[in-house]
Amino acid sequence: MTGHDDRQIRDALQQSFPPVNTEIHRDLWPTVLRKLEARPAPMPWYDWALIGLSVGVFLFFPRLILVFAYHL
């Protein structure tokens, strides 16, 4: 590839992507603080159900752990 090609692509891209304003318009700290204070979403019931089912299956059929581990 030549420097000329490189320059052509650079020029084409610079024309296609107009400069963006990189100045921030507002203080984001209040939003960050709100996000920090928000409680994390609780785990949905079906995740608990899946965990319970998996534990139950492995308790009753412990050999399945080996089969499961083999396929991981």
Partner: protein, 185 residues
């Protein structure tokens, strides 16, 4: 106790100081990649949220600016991966429509589509290096790769774009002829 140590211990006042000090540079970095002020603000907030959650992993003698930039870049990469490929990054320029605007727009759209077809990692390297003209070492730091790897990504991006836009030289001449004709009439 210095600011970074207090931040790592979870002091919210120290974190507030850091957010106010670095939000401008983090936002500027993200908006250069995603090119949308609203999305850049959301990703900046998300970046600081992740920074706070990962505060235990921050080395007190480390470079906070580089660390925050790397987290911001990863979030911007994830955003671009999720974004629909057909969604254009071309901002509509404000004001009265200029002559030949549609023709220019058509060409810009072709370049955009070719750019959006690039793998996201190549897009980010090319955007930061070729469009935003950021230093290679800063891009390398932000992407967590070597300067050589950045150059390689740019090389690959240019090669793919050159192949995809091969016909554009002809199209450009054709469009220029039409523009010249319009100017004369």
């Amino acid at each position: 106790m210095d600011l970074f140590r207090r931040f790592a211990l979870g002091e919210i006042d120290a974190f507030e100081t850091l957010v106010r000090q670095f939000q401008g540079s983090v936002y500027a970095w993200i908006v250069r990649i995603v090119r949308d002020p609203g999305i850049a603000e959301d990703l900046t907030v998300e970046t600081f949220w992740r920074i706070y959650r990962a505060r235990h992993r921050f080395r007190h003698d480390g470079n906070f600016s580089a660390w925050s930039r790397r987290i911001a870049t990863n979030l911007a990469l994830d955003h671009l991966r999720r974004k629909r490929p057909e969604q254009s990054l071309v901002a509509d320029p404000a004001g009265v429509p200029q002559p030949n605007h549609l023709l220019q727009r058509e060409m810009q759209e072709e370049i955009h589509q070719a750019f959006r077809r690039l793998p996201v990692k190549l897009q980010v390297a090319a955007m930061l290096a070729l469009v935003e003209e950021q230093p290679y070492d800063e891009i390398a730091d932000a992407l967590g790769i070597s300067v050589g790897a950045v150059k390689l990504r740019i090389f690959r991006a240019v090669r793919i774009l050159r192949r995809q836009l091969g016909h554009l030289g002809v199209r450009r001449e054709e469009i220029q002829t039409r523009v010249n004709k319009n100017d004369r009439t």
